[in-house]
Symmetry: C2
Subunit: 328 residues, 2 copies
C-alpha cells in the first residue's frame, strides 16, 4: 500500500511517499481503508523527533486522524461491522500504524461511527480538532447560553468547530483572525463578531463589543502571545482556557486577583472513559442535528506530503488541511 | 478620643497619634468601643495614597479590622444590643470611621458576633485575614479532606488561619516559612510538614513530600515570586489560588496545558450575600468548636503607630501585628 513515511527526523523534507506492506489487526484492533486524513500541527513535532508525548521508532508513518471504511475486525472487538463508515482519532491509542496511508490499523476504542449526514471527505475535519473544541467549551469552560466567548484563531481547524459549537448552544461569539478572508469565514460560520487579533493597542474595540465587561470565556490558541491581554480583558469571574502555547510570557498575577478570573490549561490527551463518552455523544448529536458542519480547507494527495505540510504550518488558518486518499 | 491619623500621604512617618472628636452612628451603623485592632498590609497602600481600592480624603484614620463592645446602635439596626462583644471587618463598608482609634462607627452589616470562647484581644486576629483564608480554601479551592495543600507564607497573618482550617477539615498540610521560628510555628499550628520557601533549586524536596505528584492545591501569597514554580509542581487537575502578588512574572503556559491545572485569583472585596453568610457561619463554627484558634503576633499601643507599622511590613510573618487599645 501507499504511505507517507519518515526514516529520519527533520523538517517536512523527511516525508517520503513509499510502498509498504499492509498492517494486520490484533484482537482488540480494526483495520480501516482510509478515505481522508486530517493533519494536526502536533504531528510536525513528532516528525522532528522533539515531541514530549511521542518520540517514535523509525521508520514511522505519521498521522492520528482519518475517516474510512472498516475492512477487518479483531476477534475481541464488539460494536463494529465490516463496511462501517467511521472516523478515528488515535492520539491516545496503544497502537496506531499511522493514518498517512491507504490502510491503517488502530485500537477499536479510538474508532467512532461517522454520522450518516457527514461525507467521508468532510469527516476529515473531525478527530483531534473537534474533540479539542468540545472539551475546551463544555468540559473546561462549561459554557452557557448567553455568555460571551472570545475565540482566538477562530478560522483555524479547532477555531471553526469552536465558533460553530458555541453559536449552536446560544453563546455570543467573537472570533479573531488576522485576514479579511478569515473574518468572513468566521461570520459565515455563525459568529456574532469577527475582529483582528486582540493586541494591547486594539483591546478597547473588544471591550466595546462586550459592554466594557470583557468576555466571560476566552479560548486561547497561542497563550505566549495573548495571555497578558486575556488577563486584562477577561470579565470578573471569567474563564480563560489555554489550548495552545509555544513559549513563555510575562503576566501580572494581580489581574487575576482583581477580577477573580480563572486560567486553566488543557490538551487532548488521555480523557477518561466518562469524558470520552460525553465527547462522542455530544459531537454526534451536534453533527446529526445539523447544528454544526465539518469544514475543510486545502486538499492534497498522499503524493504531496511536503506541500501539504507546508500548507499546514504556513496556513492563515482557514479550515483543516487534509489528504484525500480515496474519493469513493 | 485618641486615634492614629494621617494628614498627608506617605510612609509610616505620616501616622500621628492625635485627639479627635468621637464619631456618631447613623441609622444603619453602630458605634463600637475598640479593644484591639488587627493591622493589614493593604492599609499601607491606603496610607501612601496609592491604593487602587481606596484613596481616602484627608485627614484620615486608617484601619479596617477591630474587636470591641457595642456602645450605640443606629435606629434601623437589628440583631445587636449595647454591650455585645463583636469583631468588625469594614473593608467593604460604605462608612468606616477607621479602626485605629478608641471608638469606631461602621455599617452594622460589617459587624459580627465574637464567639464566647475568643477574647477581645485574641479576636484581633480575625477580620480580613480569617475571611481571606476561608474564602481561599473553601470558596475558591473547594478543598477536600485528604488533599495535599501547599501554603506559602504559612506562619503569617493569613497563613496561620489557612494551616489551621486546612488541618481541621482533614487535608494534608505543607507550610512554608523562611525562618526556623516560622517553621516551628507552622508545625505547632497542626501542619504535617514545614519547609523553607520553594525555589527552583529545592522543589524536588516538595515533590518528594507528595509522592512526586505535587500538591492538589497551592495557596499563593506572592505570585510574582512563586507562580512559575507553582505551575511546574502542581498536581494534574490541581488548583493554584493567588491571594497576593506585587509585580509581574514570566511563566510557561504549557505547564498548565500538560497538567490541566487551574490558576485563579482572589481578593477579599465585596463578597455577595450568600458568600458572606457562608464565611461568617463557617468561621463561627470553626472557632466555637475549638478547631481553630486566633493567633496574634506582636502587640503595640495607639501611641506606637510607626513602630507597629514597621513591624507589620518587616515582620518575618509570625502571627498578626495588633494594637491593644483597651485591656478591659
Amino acid at each position: 500500500m501507499k504511505a507517507v513515511q519518515i526514516k529520519e527526523f527533520g523538517g517536512p523534507e523527511v516525508l517520503k511517499t513509499v510502498e509498504v506492506d499492509e498492517p494486520f489487526p490484533n484482537e482488540n484492533e480494526v483495520k480501516v481503508k482510509v478515505h481522508a486524513v486530517g493533519l494536526n500541527p502536533n504531528e510536525s513535532y513528532t516528525i522532528t523527533g522533539t515531541y514530549a508525548y511521542n518520540i517514535p521508532e523509525l521508520p514511522y508513518i505519521p498521522g492520528y486522524d482519518a475517516t474510512g471504511i472498516i475492512e477487518e475486525i479483531g476477534s475481541n472487538v464488539e460494536g463494529f461491522q465490516i463496511g462501517d463508515r467511521i472516523f478515528l482519532s488515535a492520539f491516545s491509542a496503544d497502537r496506531n500504524t499511522g493514518t498517512y496511508a491507504e490502510k491503517v490499523v488502530v485500537d477499536a476504542e479510538n474508532v467512532f461511527r461517522l454520522p450518516d449526514n457527514v461525507s467521508l471527505i468532510k469527516g476529515a475535519a473531525l478527530g483531534i480538532p473537534a474533540f479539542t473544541a468540545y472539551k475546551a467549551l463544555f468540559q473546561k469552560a462549561k459554557i452557557k447560553a448567553g455568555e460571551i466567548v472570545l475565540i482566538h484563531g477562530a478560522s483555524g481547524a479547532v477555531g471553526n468547530w469552536l465558533v460553530q459549537m458555541a453559536t449552536a448552544i446560544g453563546a455570543i461569539v467573537i472570533g479573531t483572525s488576522s485576514t479579511k478572508k478569515g473574518r468572513n469565514l468566521i461570520l459565515d460560520l455563525g459568529a456574532d463578531h469577527a475582529i483582528d487579533h486582540v493586541t494591547q493597542q486594539n483591546k478597547d474595540k473588544l471591550l466595546s463589543l462586550t459592554n466594557e465587561q470583557g468576555p466571560d470565556i476566552i479560548i486561547e490558541m497561542l497563550a505566549n502571545k495573548n495571555l497578558k491581554t486575556d488577563m486584562q480583558i477577561i470579565q470578573r469571574h471569567g474563564r480563560i482556557i489555554i489550548v495552545g502555547s509555544r513559549e513563555t510570557i510575562e503576566v501580572d498575577p494581580r489581574n487575576l486577583m482583581t477580577n477573580e478570573a480563572i486560567v486553566t490549561g488543557m490538551t487532548f490527551t488521555s480523557p477518561n472513559e466518562k469524558e470520552m463518552k460525553e465527547l462522542t455523544f455530544g459531537l454526534h448529536a451536534f453533527l446529526e442535528s445539523g447544528a454544526i458542519h465539518p469544514f475543510i480547507g486545502n486538499k492534497f494527495t498522499l503524493d504531496e506530503p511536503i506541500k501539504a505540510y507546508k500548507n499546514l504550518m504556513e496556513s492563515s488558518g482557514n479550515g483543516r488541511t487534509i489528504f484525500v486518499v480515496s474519493e469513493e
